[in-house]
């Protein structure tokens, strides 16, 4: 049996409490409203790589992010909002993962992704003393780090490189899977200084708008990587209800094909996008990872009172 004792020290939890109040202060100064949104919902995200936890017998899913209700608030005209609360993802447990974790997510009406990157940077400078972050497109990052163009390279080329880096079978992943392998094995370890990565391949758009670049279609999405840790994921948000409905349906079809559990599409979100939802950008940050960087620990367990192993 694991120990009953907390996995985080008292000092670590004291520092965590300060970080939480620092975050709230940051948003109060900018007049962004703190809201609480449901943890239990009748619908959920369809993302292929995020497994939801279902409450048996209740027909309710535990939230994997506060994204949908926050967007409904934005569409209802409530302005800039943020949520600082727990989210749940089945099976995500490890040194930097805990199946129940604290997420900070906020939406800025009228912002695009670059304005939101500036705000994320200001927050990290305040809370983590983060140095100035560079900004680089997904394509440039790959070309500069490993001389591979993630848009021009063929599926076979990416599979061969990914298989070489990982030892996985060349047929075992799809194109985006290999890009993830290449990124995590060959690029991420070299990212010591903070960097915003933007313009992801359109196939990794999730809920971001798609745009054309001279080298291909991109998702107007960004990530912040700092200290080798993926800290933030943001979008210039898709506001087209019909396209959102299509993306949900496509993902559910793929889920069914891969024998993965499916979830009800959030029709309230689709209706909200039709309201219409104003142009906006939103971002999610892992609060436990912020604490991990602040405390300079190697594991999330050291900044969480009780982790997956002894919760």
């Amino acid at each position: 049996m694991t120990s009953w004792r907390p996995t985080a020290s008292l000092q670590s939890l004291q520092r965590r409490a300060k970080i939480l109040s620092g975050l709230r202060q940051f948003f109060a100064e900018r007049e962004i409203l703190e809201v609480e949104v449901p943890l239990l919902s009748a619908a959920g995200g369809t993302d292929l790589n995020i497994e939801l936890l279902k409450i048996e017998g209740e027909n309710r899913w535990l939230a994997s992010s506060p994204e949908f209700p926050l967007k409904r608030l934005v569409a209802a005209g409530y302005g800039d909002v943020y949520a600082l609360q727990k989210v749940f993802r089945k099976g995500e447990s490890g040194r930097r993962h805990n199946s129940e974790f604290t997420m900070l997510e906020w939406y800025r009406v009228g912002f695009d992704e670059f304005q939101l990157m500036d705000e994320v940077e200001a927050l990290c400078q305040r809370i983590l003393n983060m140095p100035t972050a560079s900004r680089v497109s997904y394509q440039t990052l790959f070309v500069d780090s490993i001389n591979v163009d993630p848009f021009a390279a063929s599926d076979v080329e990416l599979a061969e490189l990914g298989a070489k880096l990982s030892g996985l079978e060349p047929l075992s992943l799809d194109r985006d899977g290999w890009l993830d392998i290449i990124f995590s094995h060959a690029i991420e370890p070299t990212l010591k200084k903070p960097v915003f990565i933007f313009d992801f391949p359109a196939s990794q758009s999730a809920l971001a708008q798609i745009a054309s670049r001279d080298y291909g279609q991109v998702a107007r999405r960004f990530e912040l990587v700092f200290g080798g840790v993926e800290l933030a994921n943001g979008y210039f948000e898709l506001t087209d209800a019909a396209e959102q409905q299509q993306r949900f349906e496509r993902e559910l079809a793929l889920r069914a094909q891969q024998d993965k559990p499916t979830v009800a599409i959030d029709q309230h979100l689709i209706a909200a996008l039709n309201a219409p939802m104003p142009r906006c950008a939103g971002v999610a940050m892992g609060v436990d990872r912020i604490c991990m960087l602040a405390e300079n620990t190697q594991t999330l367990a050291e900044v969480i009172s009780f982790d997956d192993n002894n919760a």
Partner: protein, 189 residues
């Protein structure tokens, strides 16, 4: 044998990979927020001692390896096989040269040795960190030679050759570190 899924991987777990039994050294769960989840695993190949780094898709599994460590008494070498016995059950095991490999020159009859069994047969042997062996041959000792650090080779009765101080003579019993092959001192045993 059973299978272990990536979420059961932990240090010390014995699994089969590429036909060889391996011991898991480290298992790291990696998942980009919106991406594919996988596990980066370091495994020690128990046959060769080499450490491999491999990536698995989360949820993949590996077959368990039938590997266990036992304490056996070393009996003798018949020229082809090295023979060991379990002092409790008297079960005997024979090890091929590849299993005793670099360790064979540290094996003294009747010493208790850690033997790693794979499918019931010796895979590797690990002698105690410190052993006492007798000098079978060395150049005559130079009494009174206290020159700092001067050494000469000495061959032990088990076949190992180590560097010893000049005063060591044939028949001396020496304490030796088997991990480094270093002379530690003369033994009164």
């Amino acid at each position: 044998m059973a299978n272990f899924s990536t979420n059961e991987f932990k240090g010390g777990l014995k699994v089969m990979l590429d036909g060889d039994p391996c011991s898991i050294v480290e298992n790291e769960y990696v998942k980009p927020g919106k991406g594919q989840a996988f596990n980066r695993v370091r495994l020690k190949n128990l046959r060769t001692g080499r450490v491999w780094e491999r990536t698995f898709k989360s949820g993949e599994s590996l077959e368990a390896a039938d590997v266990m460590d036992v304490e056996l008494e070393y009996l003798y070498n018949d020229g082809e096989f090295w023979h060991f016995m379990d002092p409790n059950t008297f079960d005997q095991y024979q090890a091929e040269e590849s299993a005793v490999a670099d360790q064979k020159n540290w094996l003294r009859e009747q010493d208790v040795i850690t033997v790693t069994l794979y499918n019931g047969s010796p895979l590797t042997v690990t002698p105690p960190n410190h052993v006492v062996l007798e000098v079978a041959h060395t150049d005559p000792g130079l009494k009174g030679d206290t020159a700092q650090g001067a050494t000469k080779p000495a061959e032990m009765t088990t076949g190992a050759t180590i560097k010893v101080p000049l005063f060591v003579e044939i028949g001396d019993k020496l304490k030796i570190d088997t991990r480094t092959g270093e002379y530690l001192g003369r033994s009164k045993d």
